[in-house]
């Protein structure tokens, strides 16, 4: 059996184990009231920011970055859509409903679809307007340049940046800071994570990005998949430690 076949088999095995764990934790989560998740300050601050925006009649901006729906960075975009759905449900009653931006045509359509669905769910379907989901530019800097006037001119009190970004994200967080707004940001890109650590008020590091749904009560499947991630992470840590020790023993 060649290396490629072994890697493929490992991939299938990992997906099946992950699926089994998610189903198992989803069954265990049924009926449980407390979620027992570790505290992530960023999400606590986000809930606070949503409340303040609704009370003050200000707008929240959700930026989904410039990831697409078919590439490697699509997972971050889908997490952003899930968080957008939660925010839209809560903030749709605000005088100024949330506005979402993206840098890909298909994501822009899904953005509008997600928001329309959220509005309908809370019985505010007539309040929905297609202009709340916008494509601002398809290249990194044109995307950032298109987002800046929205934050500056449209009474935005806070920005949630969840998706795939590059270094251009610093221009967006800079404008948020200058307009005294709240910024929560998470991305799958390593260079952008380093930039966001320095520039965002509440940066999400690594897998914290994918925990958004569980922390914003998007359903028990989100909590179940978070627990499955934890189990697999410990298995990978154990495998790395055992592999290191094995190499060490072989050296003697």
């Amino acid at each position: 059996m060649d290396l490629e076949s072994i890697t493929d088999l490992l991939g299938i095995f990992l997906v099946i184990v992950f699926f089994g764990l998610v189903v198992m934790f989803a069954i265990l989560e049924r009926g449980r009231k407390s979620r027992n998740l570790r505290r992530i300050d960023a999400f606590a601050q986000l809930r606070r920011a949503i409340g303040i925006a609704v009370e003050d009649g200000a707008r929240l901006h959700v930026s989904l970055g410039r990831g697409d729906v078919t590439g490697l960075n699509s997972a971050a975009t889908f997490v952003g859509l899930s968080i957008l759905g939660r925010i839209s449900r809560t903030a749709s009653i605000s005088d100024r409903p949330p506005v979402a931006t993206s840098g890909d045509g298909a994501v822009a359509i899904l953005t509008r679809d997600t928001m329309r669905g959220a509005y309908r769910e809370v019985g505010a379907g007539s309040e929905y307007h297609p202009a709340v989901g916008r494509l601002t530019g398809v290249t990194p800097f044109s995307y950032a340049a298109g987002v800046i006037p929205i934050i500056r001119d449209e009474m935005v009190s806070g920005s949630v940046l969840i998706g795939h970004f590059g270094s251009e994200v610093a221009l967006i967080t800079d404008v948020v800071e200058r307009s005294d707004g709240f910024s929560l940001a998470g991305t799958d890109s390593l260079p952008a994570q380093a930039i966001l650590y320095a520039t965002a008020q509440e940066p999400l590091i690594g897998e914290e990005l994918y925990a958004g749904g569980a922390y914003l009560r998007a359903g028990r499947m989100h909590v179940a998949s978070l627990r499955a991630q934890d189990v697999l992470r410990w298995l990978i840590v154990a495998a790395i430690v055992i592999g290191g020790l094995w190499k060490l023993v072989q050296g003697f």
Partner: protein
């Protein structure tokens, strides 16, 4: 009975996802490649979606032209640039000299200027971070940035006794040991999160489609 979510959209999404995943691990033996076909369809739909997105962009800025509260200048410039570029590329073709000229002499310099602004923004943000979050991790972050920057600076190549050698070796160690270890840890977390998100969509627990 009215369903809580659009069953048809969910079925199409789940089935398409399962087919692509299955044929990723088990390449088809026959002549027809379902995975490649579905991905081609997705690419074509993405191109159409881009056109819809551009129309949405134009309609938002048209609305701003009529809105008394908004600044119509930038929206006007955007709409004129959009129409002129669209017509030029439509008539002359995307790889024509004119199309390339628009890209090389308008788009590229503007984006490069924004990149230059980025350097200033980042330096300012680092200083601001010290004031906003004065923790050990912030100091560690700034210290690491300074070590790596100095390692690439002329000081490191100036053949100064001890200093140059120390800077180069310290920068190399930071980049190859702690930074690489941290990056791999983060990437493992990102990979697990990606699988979790994909599985939630395959199980129709996450449905970013169909309203």
């Amino acid at each position: 009975m009215r369903l809580k979510f659009p069953i048809f959209s969910a079925a199409v999404a789940v089935l398409s996802g399962l087919i692509v995943l299955f044929f990723y691990f088990f390449p088809p033996l026959g002549a027809f490649d379902w995975r490649a076909t579905l991905l081609q369809w997705a690419a074509s739909l993405t191109a159409v979606a881009l056109l819809v997105g551009v129309l949405n962009l134009a309609s938002v800025h048209l609305g701003k032209l009529n809105d008394e509260g908004a600044n119509p200048l930038y929206s006007g410039v955007l709409l004129i640039a959009l129409v002129v570029t669209f017509l030029l590329v439509l008539v002359m073709g995307p790889v024509s000299e004119t199309g390339q000229w628009v890209f090389n002499y308008i788009q590229l310099p503007i984006e490069t200027s924004l990149m230059a602004v980025l350097a200033v923004s980042l330096a300012y943000a680092s200083a601001r971070m010290l004031r906003r979050r004065p923790t050990v991790f912030t100091l560690l972050f700034i210290g690491t940035v300074l070590i790596v920057l100095l390692g690439y600076s002329p000081l490191a190549t100036a053949q100064l006794p001890l200093i140059s050698e120390l800077l180069v070796s310290l920068q190399a160690w930071v980049a190859q040991v702690p930074a690489l270890a941290g990056a791999r840890g983060i990437l493992l977390g990102v990979a697990l999160g990606t699988i979790a998100t994909g599985l939630r969509i395959l199980m129709a627990a996450d449905r970013p489609y169909g309203g």
